[in-house]
Every structure is written in structure tokens, then in C-alpha cells.
Symmetry: C2
Subunit: 142 residues, 2 copies
């Protein structure tokens, strides 16, 4: 599955940051609101920070803030940030003993698939996820 829990949790955390706008939101608040495991999510947030998607501040009023507009963060960026080796199909990334390596003959087309896949995943922005999420949440409240 292309969207694993790391990606899903990261998305849900980022949605809370969109919601909270310029005000820093703590991991505790994020996890309370989204019902997520705090320690695990903290680890993911550190990945998002390293990728420059968010910034953080320590201390009692600290927390996390988006570092870009929601439409400038896409799914592929998020996946790369929390799960570096996500979309790279190629003979050689698998078991060495049963791989034909450079002579496999499939590397070319595998590379194309990888490119196409990344392109597709780059087409979904955090804005899309947020809006989709918001729509459902508003319905729930009525």
C-alpha cells in the first residue's frame, strides 16, 4: 500500500497544523485531536522538520507550524520525509541472489514506473487533503 501509517499519521498531523494556522500546535494537541500515538508521531514530525516542511519551537508555548503554504506541500514530499525509500522499484533493490542486477532488462521500465508514480503522488497537495477532510468534518457536525 502506497499510503502506510507513517504517511497517514503525518498527513493528519499536517492537517492539524493547517487548521491551527500560524499558531504553534504541540504534538500532544495534535495527537489528542487526531487520536494518534504521541511518541511515534513525534518521530514522524522530526522527519517533516528535517525536510523543511514544518518548523518547531520548544518550551511551554511551543509546538509545530507549517513552513509552506498547504498547496506547496504534496504527498510525495511527505512520503519522502517520513519514509525515505518509498517509491523506487528496480531490480537490485530486492534480494541480490535472485536479481540479475544491471543486466536484468527491467531497470529501464522500472525507472519509468517510478517516475510516473512520483509524478502522480506529487499531484495531491496538503490543500487537497485538508479540504477533503474539512468537508467531511463539517458534515459530521450538522
Amino acid at each position: 500500500m502506497p499510503v502506510n501509517t507513517k504517511t497517514e499519521y503525518a498527513l493528519r498531523a499536517l492537517i492539524e497544523m493547517v487548521e491551527s494556522s500560524q499558531e504553534a500546535i504541540s504534538a500532544r494537541h495534535i495527537c489528542d485531536r487526531q487520536n494518534l500515538p504521541k511518541k511515534y508521531v513525534e518521530h514522524l514530525l522530526s522527519g517533516l522538520k528535517q525536510a523543511d516542511l514544518i518548523t518547531s519551537s520548544s518550551g511551554s508555548r511551543g509546538g509545530y507550524v507549517l513552513n509552506r503554504k498547504a498547496n506547496e506541500i504534496n504527498l510525495q514530499m511527505i512520503m519522502d520525509a517520513v519514509d525515505d525509500h518509498s517509491m523506487d522499484p528496480a531490480c537490485g533493490h530486492n534480494r541480490d541472489e535472485y536479481c540479475l542486477g544491471a543486466t536484468c532488462g527491467l531497470n529501464g521500465i522500472f525507472a519509468k514506473i517510478s517516475t510516473d508514480m512520483r509524478k502522480l503522488l506529487s499531484s495531491y497537495t496538503l490543500k487537497d487533503f485538508y479540504e477533503s477532510y474539512k468537508k467531511v468534518m463539517l458534515k459530521e457536525k450538522i
Copy 2:
């Protein structure tokens, strides 16, 4: 990674069937030529058979034959055949305790991603893989 070893091995086995045309090719021959683990591949072949992508015959002249033209078999079919739960991102397929289920708000867009992904993977046919493979193999021989 979208293309795991199951998919890769299945592809390489199917390429040998394309090569062998209407003549049945045994698992032993496939695995000798492609340097693959026989028992494991046998298991994958049974999946391909169940999905009607290939037929098989027992006995000393037995083996496997493609059941469709190479351009009528695509990557998504192969993945479904050897690895049923491949491309279905959705809240709820992950850990229950940290999932908001139906109210997650992401199910809609996750479904769209899944559809788009399947569409993309359906666009690569066995013919594409075979031709890409052949091209490299011919170069090697010179």
C-alpha cells in the same frame, strides 16, 4: 515500493512464457533462465493461473503457457494475482486503535488515489516489459 519481489519474479516468469510462445515452459526452465527460487516462483505461478493469466499442464512435457496476448496482461493484473492486497490506501486498513474509521475524513481522497494508482499500473502491459527486456538482452549479446 510498488513493485516487490513477488511482482518482479512474476513478471520475469511471464517474460519467459512470452519468449517460449505456445510451447509450455516448466518452472525449472523459467527459474534456470531467470535465476529465481523455484519453489517460491511455483507459488506465484499458481496465483497467475488462478487469475487466468496462464494455463498449466502436468507431466514430463508439462509447464506453463500464457492464456492471453502479452498486450492484454497488465501490471495491475499481475500484482492482483500474486499479491492481492497491493494498492488500497484507506483509513481503516491500518491500525484500528489510531484510525478514525469512517469519520477519518481522508477516505474520499484515499479512494481517489487508489483509483488513480490502479489506472497508472494498468497502463503498463506485459508487452511493454517484454520489449524493454528484449532490447537490453539483444544489446548484451552483441
